[in-house]
């Protein structure tokens, strides 16, 4: 970079293109004769990675150098302990070790494929949230499962079993229809 005094902040690192948080850190790195400047937000995981050598989200493998003893300020759980498989100590751990945990979940296959390499803005948790009214599970899900099993069975040419599955589908369909007409009986 030739400009010594940029009129505006230098660009964010490539990983952070989606980030909408305000820039508060300008990170300057001098390697050999090359000066490199990037902008970051206050809680940029990239910043932490560069400072402490931890891995960023989306890395296939976590490359973690000496962690510099990163620990949760609330409960004292250390990154080292978490990496060894210790349980987390409090809610704050999830903020402090967020990148590491997300990386671990991804690399150990505990997150769906759709989240691999997904944009930062993609919501990760899509289950219930506090205060949400409980929804009954749609009975149609069961019909879908039976239909799937039926087509598998037909592929195997087990027609006797297919007939049984069809009976189950019919019974379930009738049950749902009658339920639709009358208020559901309490068990």
């Amino acid at each position: 970079m030739n400009e010594k005094h940029p009129s505006k902040f230098p660009e964010r690192p490539l990983d952070c293109l989606e980030c909408k948080k305000p820039i508060v850190v300008v990170y300057t790195e001098i390697v050999g004769g090359v000066v490199n400047e990037v902008s970051m937000c206050a809680d940029c995981p990239e910043l932490r990675r560069r400072l402490y050598g931890g891995g960023g989200v989306g890395d296939e493998m976590m490359v973690v150098g000496s962690s510099g003893g990163v620990a949760c300020g609330n409960c004292g759980t250390t990154l080292g302990a978490v990496r060894m498989g210790a349980r987390l100590g409090c809610s704050v751990c999830y903020e402090v070790f967020a990148d590491f945990l997300m990386g671990e979940l991804l690399s150990s296959g505990r997150l769906p494929e759709r989240l691999k390499g997904a944009k930062k803005s993609t919501p990760i948790h899509i289950g219930r949230s506090p205060g949400e009214v409980q929804q009954e599970i749609n009975p149609a899900l069961r019909l879908l499962a039976l239909n799937d099993a039926l087509s598998e069975t037909l592929k195997r040419e087990d027609y006797e079993q297919a007939a049984q599955l069809r009976d189950q589908i019919r019974a379930l369909t009738e049950e749902t229809e009658t339920k639709g007409e009358q208020p559901p009986k309490s068990k």
């Binding site: 349980r87 409090c90 799937d148 069975t153 087990d158």
Partner: protein, 353 residues
């Protein structure tokens, strides 16, 4: 909430699995983990604060179903083992002590572990393959508790748990399927890889990948985060339905082929169960499964599938001891007592092949 003076009430729990006639789907367990906001998770929480969690939760329990509280330190090791067997728990609760407790409802179907790894571990067993309505039941209890308690939650990780692989929905659903025809007929591996679904994981009861104790294949959700509760239940329902259909076909094939190898295994299981002087628990679980298979294929008579399903629970260590007059037996005496107990239950069984 009552606090009984005599914790041996544990042994008088209702038996929700007593009339289980399902030949394949033995049971399911649903577990939902929650932690309270403003408290460190149990591992980093002093005993005094853990006791506060217990009284907070106790105060806000729903009236229906009514729960009974059992404190960790008041339960004997045998009672804790009994609970783990009853609720088909995968984790050990043997160490549960001061600051840890259990809440059990009158039907014997719901257990709430307090401060066992997480502040709240809601655990439900059911035997009718009705995982969707079981989920509604569990969610209702969770909802009732949340009226006055606030749970640790963060928008990215969802509900926070002490084990990050459980965070998000905090929900773990497991179906216990007994698949003797696929296992002894040798086609299980091929079928599992054909049906493979990344949102589903399968394992054995003891965790050993090569030996399926009791011919049981445990099917559960792999993801707790990045999916919603409905996704979890529907993919499990889909996988289990297909696997059940495969087992039914395999059983039919065994019967029509008069498979001598499997016939021999059923006959041996009969011999071992009726004539042994000593029986080990794991051995019994697998023999029970073979007897169930024999019964369904018409190779045995004189008892029913629900007798055998009940035996599955009652021949495990703590259940067995609890049925004995003398609750303390030497470790060496147990296999013999188990054999005696099983003989008494299989009095009328007859081998027809």
């Amino acid at each position: 909430m009552s606090n009984p003076q005599n914790p041996s009430k544990i042994f008088e729990l209702a038996h929700p699995w007593a009339h289980n006639t399902n030949p394949i789907w033995l049971a399911s367990t649903l577990s939902l983990k929650r932690n309270l906001d403003k408290f460190n998770f149990p591992a980093k929480l002093p005993v005094e604060r853990r006791k506060q969690v217990i009284s907070l939760v106790g105060r806000d329990l729903p009236k229906k179903p009514a729960f009974t509280l059992f404190k960790g330190e008041e339960l004997s090791p045998l009672e804790k083992e009994f609970l783990a067997e009853h609720f088909l728990l995968q984790e050990s609760i043997q160490q549960a002590h001061q600051g840890e407790a259990f809440l059990i409802d009158g039907t014997g179907e719901t257990l709430i572990g307090l401060n066992i790894q997480d502040h709240l571990g809601l655990h439900l067993i059911e035997i009718h393959g009705e995982i969707e309505s079981a989920w509604s039941k569990l969610a209702k209890i969770e909802g009732a508790l949340s009226q006055n308690l606030s749970y640790a939650y963060n928008p990215a990780f969802g509900y926070l748990t002490s084990d990050a692989t459980e965070a998000g929905t905090g929900l773990q659903v497991t179906a216990f399927l007994q698949l003797p025809a696929l296992l002894h007929g040798g086609s299980l591996g091929e079928i599992l890889s054909r049906l493979a679904d990344d949102s589903i994981q399968t394992r054995s009861l003891m965790g050993d990948p090569d030996t399926f104790a009791g011919d049981l294949v445990l099917v559960s959700n792999r993801y707790a985060l990045g999916v919603n509760e409905e996704n979890i239940l529907s993919s499990l329902r889909g996988f289990v339905t297909k696997l059940q259909a495969e087992e039914v076909s395999a059983r039919k094939q065994l019967k029509s082929a008069d498979n001598p190898h499997v016939k021999d295994q059923v006959a041996r299981a009969f011999g071992i169960m009726v004539h042994s002087y000593q029986l080990e628990a794991v051995e019994v679980l697998t023999e029970i499964s073979l007897l169930k298979l024999g019964l369904e294929l018409g190779w045995l008579k004189g008892l029913s599938a629900d007798d055998l399903n009940l035996l599955f629970f009652n021949s495990r260590r703590a259940h067995l001891l609890q049925n004995q007059e003398e609750k303390k037996l030497n470790q060496e005496e147990i296999p013999h007592k188990r054999a005696e107990f099983i003989h008494s239950k299989l009095k009328n069984i007859e081998l027809l092949i």
